[in-house]
């Protein structure tokens, strides 16, 4: 019999009875105990919780950067069975905005934005940016959307932390992912740029994207369809 979850085409991510630990021995800590989470297409879900509770670790686990011990995970209808599958799904189905505004220091701003296309499989990238010209155009289009067009040819060391964060946001959209996992994306941004980024998120959702955003700030919460709280190893809606 077909799993009803898999037959539901608008589910972008489903975590079933997921258990995550960090540390070892006496320092072992449970981040999530048999947690359930479902994200639907076009949905904006905010993940909140006190600092250090494990929001970042949860996002890393969902994206395959950190292992879970027990549970099942589906991404865009595909069940994750092996770490290599998870890697592929992260690259092809997810956009990641890390808490730190990480950039490759030796690549220019636009090259950083286009980086996912240079690292993913050529066959997959071909469906999004078929030519080098298209790749560069898309990078500049995204930089314009986050207000960094003027510095596109500069190296990242000239950017402020807020500008780096916007660069990282532009990069997360590059491969047009159906699911975006954002870890405190509006930190370090002034109010104008917060508004700019939130507008970008709304546009993304309107086009059918799904957003899971971990945050401590109020503005992203205002736009959220649903707020999920991580506390004491459980996810509460």
């Amino acid at each position: 019999m077909m799993d009803p979850v898999l037959s539901t085409s608008d589910i972008r991510l489903k975590a079933h009875a997921l258990t995550i630990h960090v540390g070892r021995g006496k320092k072992k800590k449970t981040i999530l105990r048999e947690g359930h989470l479902t994200l639907y297409a076009g949905e904006w879900v905010a993940l909140i919780g006190p600092s250090g509770v494990g929001k970042t670790t949860l996002l890393h686990t969902l994206s395959g950067l950190y292992p879970y011990e027990v549970g099942e995970l589906w991404i865009d209808g595909e069940k994750v069975t092996r770490p290599s599958d998870h890697d592929r799904l992260r690259i092809e189905k997810m956009g990641l905005i890390f808490q730190g505004a990480y950039v490759v220091s030796a690549l220019s701003v636009w090259e950083n934005v286009a980086l996912p296309a240079r690292l993913a499989s050529a066959q997959f990238v071909q469906t999004i940016v078929p030519t080098k010209k298209a790749l560069k155009e898309r990078a500049h289009m995204l930089l314009e959307a986050v207000g960094l067009e003027e510095v596109s040819d500069q190296l990242p060391h000239v950017l402020s932390f807020g500008e780096r964060r916007r660069l990282a946001i532009a990069r997360a959209f590059f491969l047009n992912p159906p699911l975006l996992l954002a870890d405190e994306p509006t930190n370090d941004l002034d109010s104008d740029n917060v508004a700019r980024v939130l507008h970008l998120f709304r546009t993304y959702l309107a086009q059918g994207g799904t957003l899971l955003i971990a945050t401590h700030q109020q503005e992203p919460l205002d736009d959220a369809d649903r707020i999920v709280s991580l506390e004491d190893g459980t996810l509460k809606t």
Partner: protein
């Protein structure tokens, strides 16, 4: 991916340039040392294998060391009466072949149209067994009065040369021997005597009481098959007016020198290579570790383990070839210094490696250091294993 790696490599030109410079210095030094050791070994081996004569007769009381006579291009104006020694040789047992030589003087650009300082030696072509085996191509059947054969180190731009105002035609050139032959011009014995007798230039070497037409400088002798050369040398020592140099002794001493010097050099080379490898390893591991945020991010964005390997394969490729470009002038400089020293002291057997052999040595060193660099970078990238990568993100180690 190669273009991405190249951009990243080029934009870090201070770090990558310094690494390439370090590699260039290490690589050029190692290649030069190997070139020297192998050239020296080749010289000793060739000298001992193909010198041809077991013993050499020289006039008695001449302060000539065997090393100087056989291995250097230094002039020796020494003579003994030909007829007397020829008669004495008739009664010596164990002689297989023998051939006389007549030394004239050291030539230079003042008297001749050849560059550098060279020896001019008269040989008896019919009995010669020393020069013939070294001729490039086929040996001429005869050696005409004004025909010459030149050693491998003698630079000439054409086949017609002038020696002591006489025109000579070069009919053959020799392979390198690692001996005095490399700096020698061989002409017929009679012509050499004529030149000495009639040339105004040749004055300082000749006393009034020496007649070139009845004198010889040396007789090279090969023992009969299975006849003990040392026993032959013993018999020859009984002849008055001559001294006997056993070539095996000379080459034994040269080999001993090489064994000691070569071994010391080899140990120094191994030690240097070991230290250099550690320095390169440390530098590259440090370089990759400094960039761990870059690699952590790229791993998260799709740089698989296989692509990390490819990344470092390309990066090490660029570094190695930049080092090669820097190493070429450095190596040339080493060779220039060596040529200055060797021209001052040519008494050591040395056959320089051919260009092809030198390139082969350089390529071997290049491949070895390419592997060292590549493995160092891979070791440095171990942190980017999946779990450690996520922990790095989680703990905030990455970025900034």
């Amino acid at each position: 991916m190669a273009d991405l790696v190249f951009k990243s490599w080029l934009r870090r030109y201070k770090e990558t340039g310094l690494t390439a410079l370090l590699l260039a210095f290490v690589g050029a030094s190692i290649v030069f040392m190997l070139w020297f050791i192998l050239g020296y070994r080749q010289g000793v081996t060739l000298s001992s294998e193909r010198l041809g004569a077991d013993v050499v007769l020289f006039p008695k009381d001449v302060p000539a060391e065997g090393q100087t006579v056989l291995l250097s291009g230094e002039p020796l104006n020494v003579y003994f009466p030909e007829q007397k020694i020829r008669q004495a040789l008739q009664n010596v047992q164990g002689i297989g072949l023998w051939t006389p030589q007549f030394f004239t003087q050291t030539l230079n650009a003042d008297c001749c149209s050849v560059e550098g300082e060279n020896r001019l030696v008269g040989i008896d072509w019919s009995s010669d067994f020393l020069v013939k085996p070294w001729i490039r191509g086929s040996a001429p059947k005869t050696l005409g009065p004004y025909e010459a054969i030149i050693g491998s180190n003698i630079a000439t731009y054409e086949d017609n040369i002038t020696i002591l105002d006489a025109p000579f035609h070069i009919v053959a050139r020799l392979y390198p021997t690692g001996t005095a032959m490399d700096q020698t011009i061989f002409i017929p014995l009679k012509t050499a005597r004529d030149l000495v007798a009639h040339s105004d230039t040749v004055v300082h070497a000749w006393g009034k009481d020496i007649d070139p037409y009845t004198s010889l400088s040396a007789i090279f002798i090969r023992a009969q098959d299975r006849y003990n050369p040392q026993l032959l040398a013993y018999h020859l020592n009984q002849i008055p007016d001559v001294q006997v140099i056993e070539t095996s002794d000379v080459l034994y001493r040269a080999r001993e020198t090489f064994m000691w010097t070569g071994r010391m050099l080899l140990i120094a080379l191994l030690f240097f290579t070991f230290l250099a490898s550690i320095a390169i390893y440390g530098r590259l591991v440090g370089d990759v570790t400094r960039r761990k945020s870059d690699f952590a991010l790229m791993r998260a964005l799709g740089l698989t383990r296989g692509k990390v390997v490819r990344w470092f394969a390309w990066e090490s490729f660029f570094t190695v070839w930049a080092a090669v470009i820097m190493a070429v002038p450095l190596y040339s400089w080493y060779r220039w210094i060596f040529s200055r020293f060797s021209s001052i002291n040519p008494s050591q057997p040395f056959i320089p490696l051919t260009l092809k052999e030198t390139v082969g040595v350089a390529l071997t060193v290049l491949v070895i250091f390419w592997i060292v660099i590549f493995l160092s970078q891979l070791v440095g990238s171990q942190y980017s294993k999946k779990k450690a990568l996520a922990q790095a993100f989680g703990e905030g180690d990455v970025g900034s």
